[in-house]
Symmetry: C2
Subunit: 710 residues, 2 copies
């Protein structure tokens, strides 16, 4: 159901209305005084509240009510929901606390509330929230001490306390909002509903969110994927570190999933994520004011070298690039500028630059095809007129067709110049390094929109593939013997049946058989523990590499057998020792409780935890996505060939990633899969070891759905 | 000579004094109007300037002059320096531009200026600078439009334009300075002089520097090492990225060295480095107000969970840690707080906390030995009194004996609270994540002071060791044959003579000899190209691993011979193939033009450029420093043992690092040395390959001195 009754109500009932000084209810009533629609106080103990007639119950109002604001004790709320439904109320903001956050009893109460509300599709914000504000509609259904200014940013926050702080700060800084929403414990209305609502709201140009937990991940991500392409969504989510996740969980009782998975999900949904509240609003502002750059190359025009260099450090440090100006551009600048200008980007127009010189330089640079965005930096030097330069530049911005940012550095001297730039919708920053970082965020948004588009294409094509018969048989066999862990050979067979190249591997259950297999394959060979119970074989000394003779195989057999308990020893696997300098990679899949299957690619081998060079992604994976995914790791540089090694066949590697993704999506009984190492060399790609874990057959229903099913 | 005549002059001559409106000279004269000492305008064309008697020359003043401020054209300055010396002037601030920054002619002019000044030990700031301000002395010898406020921060800037911007901003933000120095092109007075001067200046509590180039690295670092232990030095240096280094160089003409080397040098000198101007002043303020933490563990006391989680993310993300509160602390908090408090760090005292509860919680937490620092976070909620909480907490801070930071979040509602905290020297931040980052900077300073102390101890013990006779002979032999590149076997002999374990390696100049050597060593063996010209052997296919038979050795010999030109082929080296799962490391030395010998340690092997897991250090290296150095890399975790591998002998590894450092310091003809891989395993440490380059004998004098010689 629509959220319009909550955010555009014509009439509001305040349940628990009171005029007792210092009460939450009094604060809400006071804030609603300016509301242009009807306000009905409801309280059986009063006849009038703040000059308005007070009703004994919702039913007694006798007129249509769009929104009920509930401020009564938690235990009264389930019954009130029934009243709301009976009275035809369409939306509720439950400010009252005392639910899930207080323990099991409160959680039970919440469920009663939800049950009652769902009978008539009544939508609920909260409970345990500050309320909602819609400044342009004069709606302030909160108990905050102040009303937000009107603007174009919808701010959605899971922390009511943060709301009050941001609100207070926004009034000092003169920042406005299209809506200001404290979501509370998100019993009903969650991120997905809100993102969709403000995606369609004409007053909202960008959506800014403070998250502590993701809630319904599917709903959020599907909504984000729909909205992100038309409006910037910028998110701060606490819990990036495990310690913060614990801190957030302890106070909301919310389940916080893996932060790295969320990161991947947001990237593919086109959502920007920032780490500080300062950046949260800065990025939203910049994105709503200027067009996105087509590439990462920023040209900096400055009247001082040092600030230009500061901007370059920040730019390159974040992944942007300095523009390589075209010869023709340089020639034009040579003609314009004094001889000792910087002759490149940053373009130092020098300390004595007047408005004309500054503006001309910017215009010349803007026409260079190798420039994706512009940053004007001004310091108030003796011969500088910050206001005049701003007046000259501001009207040009619209012509550039490229984003323009600026940093008028200083205080009083640059105040008027900043005001002019701001009025022309050119974002201004105190320092040029901040501006450069903002530019990189714009470029990041462009990249994420590309990820999003590719993800949408992939998802559209993503039909649950039929699983291969061979795979089914192997899995059935493991299940029949009560196992959820496949043996190495079983796992390799599953991969092979999925079209992923594996090194040929035989099981030997006696020493003599191991020798015979080794002689059949040809030396050197590798022996590995074959066990139904032990999965990390090298951790227990269960891997013997590079065996060159029958004697070596016999010694290895005995060493492995001696290293583990007899119950864990079911023989060995024998495989060819792959020679040469292949690059060891890891390709893995896990199942996130919120986001479903998640794939991992990165540097493999035994140092995988030490190097931590990996990138996550949500399937499905297309060729295009596979190549982007590989490029997110450091090891991808090695794949292109270093130190005399030839490059790896990237298409073949991308193909393996695509097949692995398809396997994971088709065979949903796989909850974990690892290929480590996956060896990539110019000769080809081959899986040397594999590990597959099935979900417990009894939990089949608990397996989360894949992200592609929207 | 002392800089007192420049920063505490009793009398000032302004050479080129004028009252022409809009001139630089007029601005300087105007700014000096408030100077309490004597001011003598000098200009042969005027009788009076701004009401002061004007002298035709310095000589005509007839009274002692401490400081001359020079504003005349560049070409006149050399002669004026002679006048200064003749008149007994002891310091000069040359504001005039037109020197080095304009090209060769200007650079020549500078040298004449320096030559004239040095005759009498006259010290010079500039040329091409804004000038200097000393607010508490009423001295403003600049052409800036405003005067800085008085404070305790000495700000030293290599960009005059940045000075004007910072000054303007500081007046808006009400920040003060003990000195405000635009250093210009640092012809005479450089970073070392200034750091020493303000290190001794009682008005200065911290030194904040904006650098574009390092200038005299030895002087700067020696001064920093003396001063950093008593006063915080915080630096921003542009050129962290190569692109910014080019940008800075193009506008100052200054030589910028490798940024990574500077980073290492600053760390060992106890100097903090930040990346943004915002942090530059923030960190300096925090460090000057609160004691340093003894460890990285921060306890956060907050009246809202979300902001606490934000702080934790920033804390852990920067390398700090959440405190594990003691059982006794938890029990005391249980007694104090409502039942659903967070039961851990962050300590959520809940939204209804009054001043008493807030302060008590903070006090309890402060007494926990597992807490190294405190952060109080307040959001202005309905039942919060931000001012009362501040009033209650502020007087306690001094008792804690641990650093206390705070974040009163919001605008008008928290203004008074912030003012109270600021007055009590408790640093306040808009957002808790900023405060957490500031705490980590405090911890970083503590760590750097430990680096500094260890570096001082090491340097005190660092006497140029006698080089081993064996090493000298090898080097002499290479030089005799006109080579600066040692062969692999020569390089290994040098390492061996320096006490570093190397794998035994023989040269074979025929196929039969290679086979004989292999049989002598025992299979498997490694063959590598032996060449006087080619140093990166694996890049040309000159390395053949794991050869198990005479036939394999013969094939390898032929492959290597065929891979290079006959002139580059001088046979092969034969060495044992080291088996097992050692960890490949790299240990290297280069010579930086500014900082002298620099050592590198990190993850080795063929992926060294891809993984980029490395840490730099300036010798000398002690056992203690070696262990810290190793801990700066990611690979050090692998050395402790992962995935069933036993740990490496860290003492043995530290010993190798120490010996390598001693070798580089003792044998200064080595300009480059690399051991890659240095293989570390539980069995020991061994160098498998080595590469050593000597400096060109003709350039012996150009080899920079080591950092330990102060």
């Amino acid at each position: 159901m629509s959220l319009a009754p909550i955010f555009s109500p014509r009439s509001i009932a305040v349940v628990g209305a009171s005029d007792r000084e210092g009460s939450v209810s009094r604060a809400v009533m006071g804030n609603l005084a300016a509301f242009p629609g009807q306000v009905f106080p409801v309280n059986p103990k009063r006849a009038e509240v703040l000059g308005r007639r007070c009703f004994p119950s919702l039913g007694a109002i006798g007129q249509p009510v769009d929104l009920a604001v509930i401020i009564t004790p938690a235990t009264t709320v389930p019954a009130l929901m029934a009243d709301c439904v009976a009275a035809g109320v369409k939306g509720a903001v439950i400010i009252s606390a005392g639910f899930k956050e207080t323990g099991a009893q409160g959680a039970e109460l919440e469920q009663q509330v939800l049950l009652a509300a769902r009978r008539n599709g009544l939508r609920i914000i909260g409970p345990n929230c500050l309320g909602v504000m819609v400044p342009h509609a004069g709606l302030n259904a909160t108990f905050a001490a102040q009303m937000a200014g009107a603007g174009t940013v919808a701010f959605l926050s899971q922390s009511g306390a943060l709301c009050t702080a941001i609100l207070d700060l926004s009034l000092r800084e003169n920042v406005g909002f299209s809506a200001f929403v404290s979501v509370g414990s998100m019993l009903d209305v969650g991120w997905g509903d809100l993102v969709r609502h403000f995606g369609d709201d004409p007053h909202t140009h960008s959506i800014v969110m403070y998250l502590e937990s993701v809630g319904d991940a599917q709903s959020f991500l599907c909504a984000a994927r729909e909205v992100a392409a038309k409006k910037p969504i910028v998110v701060i989510k606490v819990g990036r570190t495990a310690a913060a996740a614990r801190a957030a969980a302890s106070h909301t009782g919310a389940l916080t999933g893996s932060d790295a998975v969320l990161d991947a999900a947001l990237r593919q949904a086109g959502v920007l994520r920032v780490d500080t509240i300062e950046e949260l609003f800065d990025v939203a502002e910049v994105l709503s004011k200027q067009p996105l750059p087509r590439g990462p190359r920023l040209a900096i025009v400055t009247n001082a070298g040092g600030p230009g260099a500061l901007a370059v450090d920040a730019l390159v440090g974040r992944g942007g690039a300095v523009a390589e100006l075209d010869g023709a551009t340089l020639a034009k600048l040579d003609a314009l500028l004094p001889p000792h200008w910087s002759h490149g980007d940053p373009v130092d127009v020098l300390g004595d630059a007047d408005a004309e010189r500054f503006a001309c330089a910017l215009k010349i640079v803007s026409q260079d095809d190798s420039v994706d965005g512009l940053l004007a930096v001004l310091t108030p030097q003796a011969m500088t007129d910050p206001t005049a330069v701003a007046e000259k530049i501001a009207p040009l911005a619209a012509e550039f067709g490229k984003p323009l940012l600026c940093s008028w550095m200083g205080g009083h001297a640059v105040r008027d110049g900043r005001r002019i730039m701001n009025a022309a919708r050119i974002p201004t920053h105190d320092y040029p390094d901040e501006a450069a970082r903002a530019f990189v965020s714009m470029w990041e948004r462009r990249k994420r929109l590309e990820w999003l588009a590719e993800t949408m294409r992939a998802s559209a094509r993503c039909t649950p593939a039929a699983t291969s018969g061979g795979v089914d048989a192997i899995i059935a066999n493991a299940r029949a013997s009560g196992r959820t862990l496949l043996s190495e050979t079983e796992a390799k067979s599953v991969l092979k049946a999925s079209g992923i190249p594996v090194v040929e591997t035989f099981i030997a259950t006696s020493e003599d058989e191991a020798v015979a297999r080794a002689e059949q394959i040809g030396f050197p060979v590798v022996l590995k523990l074959h066990s139904a119970t032990i999965t990390h074989k090298s951790d227990v000394g269960g891997v013997k590499l590079n065996l060159h003779s029958a004697d070596a195989v016999r010694t290895a057999w005995r060493d492995i057998a001696a290293a583990v308990r007899p119950a864990d020893f079911a023989g060995v696997s024998v495989q060819k020792m792959i020679r040469g300098k292949g690059i060891e990679l890891i390709l893995g899949a896990t199942t996130d409780p919120q986001f479903g299957p998640v794939l991992l690619f990165g540097a493999g081998g035994t140092l995988v935890e030490v190097l931590q060079d990996r990138a996550l992604i949500l399937p499905p994976v297309t060729r295009e996505i596979a190549l982007r995914w590989i490029a997110e790791t450091k090891i991808h540089k090695a794949l292109r060939g270093v130190r005399g090694q030839r490059a790896v066949d990237m298409d073949a590697l991308a193909d393996v990633l695509e097949r692995f993704s398809a396997m994971v999506l088709a065979e949903r009984s796989i909850v974990e899969a690892d290929i480590n190492p996956l060896v990539a060399s110019p000769a080809g790609i081959v899986a040397l070891d594999a590990r597959i874990v099935l979900h417990d057959a009894r939990d089949a229903d608990a397996v989360p759905a894949a992200f592609c099913v929207c």
